[in-house]
């Protein structure tokens, strides 16, 4: 019997699933979505970074010039960079320290959960508490007053001064410490127990054990934690926005504020140029980090 083309086609179908190109079908939806929603529009963003916002005339690098000369942009970049370079080490360091302490305890799981808890709290919920803690009439001032660190009348509104920056840092650490601890603990425990045992037998103290045996193997974790903490540091915008609005105190003004405001004001040309810049920068940074830890790469 003559097989119709269709039947032949249908017959052929299973082979598609069996061929090496099957992956394509698995990947397609995601790739398509990513392309449509991110990659293609990003090209348009790049295009927009070279034209004016409304009339779409070609202006070359003018937008970039404007952006770089823009005071707000500089402030935002400065703050964001400052925030990153302050927070990451702090978080990573404190996380490491605490996880080391925890690793020796039985109640590790419970305490770990307690630290993880902040992750479950929605930003909006948290903001209210922050307001109660850190405003001029807040509890922090209350405690400081009681313990005599601060005099009555000198109570600052933490979120309206340069201290706002540290409020953000605190918020960030509070939220992400659990995350970090989990990662560190995983890293610590991934080091084979034999090694530690061997070291202990050799007479190493706990501390030596840690620094000589475990720590060198934590590089991979460090990379991951750094990357993820970096990722999460951008999320601190949520709290900042909810607490202080679109135009917070200078020290809190991050890149995200700037972008948000540009978006609201429809200054799309500046936004495009800045987005391209930041995007490129992040891309480079990540590639760089990747290169640095390349030997840990699995793929």
């Amino acid at each position: 019997m003559q097989k119709t083309g269709l039947q032949r086609f249908l017959k052929k179908r299973p082979s598609i699933w069996q061929s090496k190109y099957a992956f394509f079908w698995f990947l397609l939806p995601s790739l398509a979505g990513v392309t449509v929603f991110v990659l293609v529009p990003f090209l348009d963003v790049v295009r927009r970074s070279f034209v004016t916002a409304v009339t779409q005339e070609w202006t070359g690098l003018r937008n970039y010039q404007i952006v770089f000369a823009n005071q707000a942009f500089r402030l935002a970049v400065k703050n964001t960079v400052r925030f990153t370079f302050v927070c990451l080490p702090l978080l990573i360091g404190i996380g490491l320290f605490l996880s080391v302490q925890l690793s020796r305890l039985k109640e590790m799981q419970l305490i770990k959960s307690m630290f993880l808890f902040p992750l479950a709290m929605p930003a909006a919920t948290v903001v209210l508490i922050w307001k109660m803690l850190f405003s001029r009439q807040g509890f922090l001032n209350g405690i400081l007053l009681k313990t005599g660190f601060v005099e009555d009348g000198l109570l600052p509104d933490y979120m309206g001064t340069g201290a706002a920056f540290w409020v953000l840092v605190f918020s960030y650490i509070w939220k992400n410490l659990g995350y970090t601890i989990v990662l560190w603990l995983a890293g610590i425990f991934s080091v084979s127990a034999d090694l530690t045992e061997a070291a202990k037998v050799d007479g190493a103290t706990e501390r030596q054990c840690f620094w000589r045996v475990i720590f060198p193997n934590l590089k991979g974790s460090l990379y991951t934690i750094t990357v993820l903490s970096f990722l999460n540091s951008f999320k601190v915008f949520r709290e900042a926005y909810l607490v202080a609005g679109s135009y917070p105190h200078e020290s809190m003004y991050l890149l995200q504020h700037l972008f948000n405001n540009w978006f609201v004001n429809l200054e799309l040309d500046k936004m495009a140029a800045a987005a391209v810049c930041v995007g490129m920068l992040l891309f480079a940074a990540i590639l760089f980090l990747q290169r640095l830890w390349d030997h840990e790469e699995h793929i």
Partner: protein, 284 residues
């Protein structure tokens, strides 16, 4: 030995305390949500009127009352509108991610195709981009598709997020290769392998992605803020800040109720949460 025990005990206590401090905000919320209006005003008046005195708090309110709960639960349909909005958004996103991201992770994990490394790096980069950088591009697409100011504007971009791909990928990585090969030899189609073999074994990764995703999207703010104008579409996370300081009790209760699903998810998926975090981390 004694010293060590004491030391250990001290450390333990310290860590407990720290943990308690970390969980403290919840206590604030709980106690605040049952405080009567009068007490709340008393305690927080300074904050509301920007006065000079400090605010006070009592963790055991003098006149506990459920009036705020009553009001929110029984008299404020607006709350429920936003609540179901949030639910809808989150579940749609999670469902979508399941459909989109899991197969993609499978592709990355199992098939060594040509641009895999390159593409995967791209995915990582995209995963790490803060929203603001891609905000403009998203806006352009959404506007072009004319779905601005609908829930789809928030759901669609999130569905195609690359973070779950990453998480689930880790889960798939642990699959023994031999199993897959064997299945192939047995004549199973790739799809069958995926469904019958891959999914169950990587369920951990998938669930961790779900838990992390839920926690993330339950408090989503930036996207709805930027893309949703119609107030009736707002999620809970945007509604909460709208409650003014005048109605603090209300705000507390809303926060508590907002917390509940998150706590549910947290409690039930805690292990998966950890797994997910670890998976996103370890490269070994």
């Amino acid at each position: 030995m004694m010293r060590k025990t004491i030391q250990k005990a001290a450390v333990k206590t310290a860590l407990f305390l720290l943990g308690a401090v970390f969980c403290a905000p919840v206590l604030f919320l709980l106690s605040g949500s049952v405080m009567s209006r009068y007490e709340l005003t008393e305690n927080l008046r300074s904050l509301m009127t920007d006065g000079e005195t400090l605010i006070t708090w009592s963790f055991f309110p003098l006149y506990p009352t459920f009036e705020h709960y009553g009001r929110i639960l029984f008299q404020t349909p607006q709350f429920f509108t936003v609540f179901w909005n949030s639910m809808k958004i989150v579940f749609c996103i999670l469902a979508g991610q399941f459909v989109i991201a899991v197969p993609a992770a499978w592709a990355f994990a199992v098939y060594p195709f040509r641009f895999r490394k390159w593409l995967f790096t791209l995915y990582i980069v995209l995963m790490l981009m803060p929203f603001q950088v891609t905000m403009l591009s998203s806006y352009l697409v959404l506007d072009g598709l004319a779905i601005m100011d609908t829930h789809r504007a928030v759901i669609l971009p999130a569905v195609f997020s690359t973070f779950p791909v990453f998480l689930v990928y880790r889960g798939f990585c642990d699959l023994p290769r031999g199993l897959i090969e064997a299945a192939r030899i047995d004549g199973a189609g790739e799809w069958m392998i995926f469904v019958k073999l891959g999914l169950p074994l990587a369920s951990g990764g998938i669930l961790s992605a779900a838990v992390l995703g839920f926690l993330e999207y339950w408090s989503l703010i930036e996207q709805p803020l930027a893309f949703l104008e119609d107030q009736s579409l707002w999620p809970l996370s945007l509604y909460l800040p709208e409650i003014s300081l005048e109605q603090v009790g209300y705000s507390f209760v809303a926060s508590v109720i907002t917390l509940i699903p998150a706590i549910f998810v947290f409690l039930s998926g805690r292990e998966y949460l950890e797994q997910g975090i670890v998976a996103s981390g370890l490269k070994e």
